[in-house]
């Protein structure tokens, strides 16, 4: 069994975006859930757009499995220096009744399909301008990276 490199020392992409275990390793994503109507937004918003002002939005741990809603592969490096090619899209988290933006990971050159099951992974963001940052993504389930 191989041990994964530790991600505990990385700076989180956003404060309060990640849930960590006792060793500081990321284990989940923290969204916001409206106490009034149950709507889930990620990252958490300050208030629910559907409910009475002042209705609290509580921390909510997103499920770690979803399906691809939309996907694209980018063929030129980003302004921040993400090396091409790389992929991202939106992942439908059926259990949470929400959909989130996410990098998509899988074997090189393999296209991502709408409806395909994916699972949450964590990694150091590969972009020169924001070195040492903890990011998240979703990997195809037949080959989690």
């Amino acid at each position: 069994m191989t041990t994964k490199p530790s991600l505990a020392a990385l700076a989180p992409l956003r404060p309060r975006m990640f849930r960590h275990d006792e060793n500081g390793e990321p284990v989940g994503l923290v969204a916001g859930r409206c106490v009034g109507c149950g709507r889930v937004t990620f990252p958490a918003r300050a208030a629910c757009s559907h409910c009475h002002p002042g209705t609290p939005v509580e921390d909510y741990f997103l499920s770690t499995h979803g399906v691809i809603y939309a996907a694209t592969t980018i063929h030129l490096p980003s302004a921040l220096g993400h090396p091409a090619p790389y992929s991202y899209g939106y992942v439908e988290l059926t259990e949470d009744h929400t959909r989130i933006f996410a990098p998509l990971l899988g074997p090189k050159g393999r296209p991502f399909c709408v409806g395909e099951p994916v699972q949450l992974v964590f990694f150091e963001i590969q972009a020169k301008a924001i070195d040492g940052t903890l990011g998240y993504g979703f990997a195809v389930e037949d080959n989690p990276s």
Binding site: F42, A70, H75, A79, Y88, G89, I100, F101, G135, Y136
Partner: protein, 390 residues
């Protein structure tokens, strides 16, 4: 909220520079040219201008220049009046126009200048850094990618094809070839669009608009001011600006903000999509124009690809879209594009559009949008212009 103006303002005059690469000209210089052009076109004396809105989406970021509006107007000897600098991503120019419309519609001023300017051409090998502080961008999101995802959903849901999307670029380059102010004056073939380098799958290089340098301007005036000068003019029959709904699970094959703007604008103008003679839309990427055809009501949801491929949106089609060449061929300085759309519609309504004149036209619609957040555009604007007696 009302979108009904107590008094519909008029467009007294418009101006614009050529769009493209203006390596040896400053931002201020471009702004001056467009404003001077509009002042001459309107026949307005500079001291009659009572307020001004200047749009620039990139100046603070790229040129490190702030207060662009005041700097341009100082060159033209226009001081003292309130000048507000506006930033609303790609909808910046349309936002400046909307603010001028408000001032005149509610009787605060009689003559207001709206202009927009940007120099967005980047040195070879560098990319615009707009919006890179957003978490999505830090995870790799770039503008073409956002639209690629919409294309992905549109293809999956409705069977829209690569060829249908590429046809938007072919048609807009054909129109751009007839527009002396357009950045690209050369037609492209379907094959050239499809085989150009892949940017964000399925969008290729020629499926994406360029970053451009340029400026555009419009002078908005009251009916009374217009009446003293002409028996007929171009009325702003509707001006609607909205932000997104940011619903995480909304159908991504359209923008809710655009649907809202379209419905509100048609209602304010008292018209339906069938009454519109020509349209300028935000074709930053080919898929966008297909979605706009649907959302603005020119064809049914899901049928935009076939609608474009059948030639309905060509200069000779049932509803010409982007006769100017659109963002894809005219070019896209984000601060100016919304006003360049107005420039084109005014030329068409006046019958002054030269080789790309669509024939007799009474009503034109301009749609533009900017930014992307939480599954919707951050800003969307729809303007309806109509020939009307003063």
């Amino acid at each position: 909220m009302t979108h009904l103006a107590p008094n519909n303002p008029f467009i007294a005059g418009v101006g614009m520079t050529a769009f493209g690469k203006h390596k040896n000209r400053s931002l201020i210089d471009l702004g001056v040219e467009a404003v001077q052009d509009a002042i001459e076109d309107a026949g307005v004396i500079p001291r009659e201008i009572q307020a001004a809105y200047c749009g620039s989406a990139m100046a603070a970021l790229v040129q490190k220049e702030t207060g662009v509006g005041q700097s341009v107007l100082m060159q033209l000897g226009i001081g003292r009046i309130p000048v507000v600098n506006v930033e609303n991503a790609c909808a910046t120019g349309a936002t400046a126009l909307h603010l001028a419309w408000r001032d005149v519609a509610w009787g605060i001023h009689d003559v207001v200048l709206a202009f927009g300017v940007d120099k967005a051409v980047m040195p070879k090998g560098t990319v615009l850094e707009a919006g890179t502080a957003q978490f999505e961008a830090q995870l790799g999101d770039i503008f073409p990618g956002t639209f690629a995802l919409i294309a992905n959903r549109h293809m999956t849901t409705y069977g829209t094809t690569l060829e249908q999307m590429a046809q938007v670029s072919v048609k807009n380059h054909d129109n751009g070839a007839l527009n002396p102010k357009a950045q690209f004056n050369k037609p492209v073939t379907l094959d050239e669009v499809l085989s150009s380098p892949m940017i964000a799958d399925p969008l290729t290089l020629f499926s994406c608009c360029p970053n451009s340098d340029g400026a555009a301007a419009a002078i908005v005036c009251s009916r009374e001011w217009m009446k003293a000068r002409a028996a007929e003019g171009i009325e702003i029959a509707a001006s609607v600006l909205a932000s997104g709904d940011y619903e995480p699970q909304r159908d991504m094959t359209y923008w809710e903000s655009e649907l809202y703007c379209a419905r509100s604008a048609y209602a304010a103008a008292g018209i339906s999509p069938r009454d519109v003679d020509l349209v300028e839309v935000h074709d930053a990427f080919t898929i966008s124009e297909i979605v706009h055809c649907e959302t603005l009501g020119f064809c049914a949801r899901g049928e935009g690809g076939a609608f474009v491929a059948n030639g309905e949106t060509a200069l000779t089609g049932s509803i010409p879209i982007n006769p100017s060449g659109g963002l894809l061929a005219r070019g896209h300085p984000p601060g100016a594009s919304g006003l360049a759309q107005i420039y084109e519609i005014v030329q068409q309504l006046r019958g002054n559009a030269g080789n790309r004149q669509i024939g007799w036209a009474e009503i034109g619609l301009a749609q533009i949008m900017g930014g992307n957040k939480g599954n919707d555009a951050q800003a969307c604007a729809v303007h309806i212009l109509r020939k009307a007696p003063t």
